[in-house]
């Protein structure tokens, strides 16, 4: 249920951004969910809708959900890899869910076993775009 805290950040950031652009109504917020963080796709959209109701600017916003696959690039050997080959234990998946950077404690480059890799895509939650009317 810590999704609510992140959903709150999406609604607040979107409302602040819309206010800066002098939008009178936000019509759509596109939110990207990175595969690595494994956000609950039922709770999070529900939380966004509930929280948006409390802000007039956001009350009629639709939320477009975009799933982004995780992609990693090893800093040691330059290998590129994804999440499919990793079988994380359930507690490790939960820890990565809370703080995606914990992947560096539990995942290693499949080629050289280094934990020194970049999370090139699919880390966590961010806003891709906000559409609205002035």
């Amino acid at each position: 249920m810590h999704e609510w805290a992140l959903a709150e950040s999406v609604i607040k950031a979107a409302a602040e951004h819309a206010a800066e652009r002098k939008l009178k109504r936000v019509g759509e917020v596109a939110v990207v969910f990175g595969e690595l963080q494994a956000i609950d796709l039922e709770i999070f959209p529900f939380a966004m809708k509930e929280l948006a109701k409390k802000r007039p600017l956001m009350a009629s916003a639709k939320f477009k959900i975009i799933k982004e696959p995780a992609a990693f690039r090893c800093r040691a050997c330059s290998a590129e890899f994804d999440l499919k080959r990793f079988r994380k234990e359930s507690d490790e998946a939960e820890f990565i869910h809370f703080v995606p950077e914990m992947a560096h404690s539990f995942i290693k480059c499949p080629s050289c076993k280094s934990p020194d890799f970049d999370i090139a895509a699919g880390r966590g939650v961010y806003i891709q775009h906000i559409k609205g009317s002035k």
Partner: protein, 225 residues
Amino acid sequence: MTALDPRPSVIADRLKKVKKITAVTGWKGGIGKSVTASTLALLLTEKGFKTGLLDLDLTGASCHFILGAKKAFPREDMGLVPPFVHGVKFMSISFFSKGRGVPLRGANVTDAVIEMLAVTLWGELDHLVIDMPPGIGDAALDALKFFPKARILAVTTPSPVARDVLRRSLAVYKGMKVPVAGLVENMSPAGVPRDPRLDAALGDPEKLLRTAFAKKLGFLTRKLF
């Protein structure tokens, strides 16, 4: 528009019921920052203050060891609610590492710090003590950015090397207009003397509070809190 990271937008909200923030710093490793920060949090709790402790030394977290926080884990309730460890609300990346190392580069450190600050629900606190990492790298700079109300409690030792680093750190804080509340000279007859019983008390808050180290630290910092 470019991609927007929403998380920083709520960090100030998470801290709005925190009255005072003290960042325990020292730019050298091994000078006792974490023991000072952890003991300070315990002393403030003992005095009756609602106190939190945030371990921001992500790659070398050790407050959990000092507090003996073996079974503690945050509770999920619209965010992450820090567990109480001996009366101190405590948050650390160690909860999520399963006892393993946390090898992070700078950008990862910033992302992890932002994540923790965005989802941690501190609630009402009289004092939040932050155990800062050594130096003035990403986590330390992030802390100064996201905790604009923070004041510094600097830790050093009598070592000429530590003192030289301290001098430079104080100049940087002055330039950044970050208030320095005080200085603890650790392992020093003039400050907090080396305490031979300290190592045996680590992991046991009751024992830690009874050490000469804790008593002297409490005495030296009594006017700051």
